[in-house]
């Protein structure tokens, strides 16, 4: 396939829109994965890393901890953003 035929200008408006939407979706998915990786790493350290490893399952305490960890992390993000915005308003 001739690479020069792959430029977006060769597609009509409808196809262009579809492709852009596809790219956006893929970018969103990539960002989502990235976030899950970070959250898992952080919350693993907080909730599981220090515990005795008696088996392959996550117990109820650890599961609750993960839930709290993820939600509090997101809360922290929101608090930081809103406070930074307030600072910027001066």
């Amino acid at each position: 396939m001739d690479p020069s035929s792959l430029s977006l200008s060769n597609f009509d408006e409808k196809d262009k829109k579809e492709i852009q939407q596809f790219i956006q979706n893929e970018q969103q998915k990539a960002k989502f994965q990235e976030n899950v990786h970070s959250l898992t790493a952080i919350c693993w350290t907080r909730c599981i890393a220090g515990n005795k490893l008696t088996g392959p399952q996550i117990d109820a305490t650890e599961a609750t901890c993960l839930d709290n960890c993820v939600n509090r992390f997101i809360d922290t993000q929101k608090a930081v953003i809103s406070q930074v915005e307030k600072m910027g308003a001066h």
Binding site: E26, K29, A30, F32, Q33, N35, V36, H37, L39, T40, A41, C43, W44, C47, I48, A49, L53, T54, G55, P56, Q57, I58, A63, L66, D67, V70, N71, I74, Q77, K78
Partner: protein, 68 residues
């Protein structure tokens, strides 16, 4: 597809780091059976944690779209 490969690679790397940290505190000339068992448990547990975090994150975004 490429994303999936990248994702898996990322995950494996994190598991390596976390489980080495957790299971191999005194590196010897070989991995002991205790260490191998620990790594097995750790790997499974990390994957479960990943799945749980994913679900928790999705639920949070659904109930609070501003958090994305």
């Amino acid at each position: 597809q490429q994303q999936n490969v990248e994702n898996a690679r990322n995950l494996i790397h994190k598991i390596n780091t976390s489980c080495f940290e957790k299971c191999v505190s005194k590196p010897g000339s070989d991995l002991s059976q205790v260490e191998e068992k620990c790594i097995r448990y750790c790997l499974t547990k990390y994957l479960s944690a990943w799945n749980k975090v994913s679900a928790i994150y999705i639920a949070r975004i659904k109930s609070d779209p501003s958090s994305n």
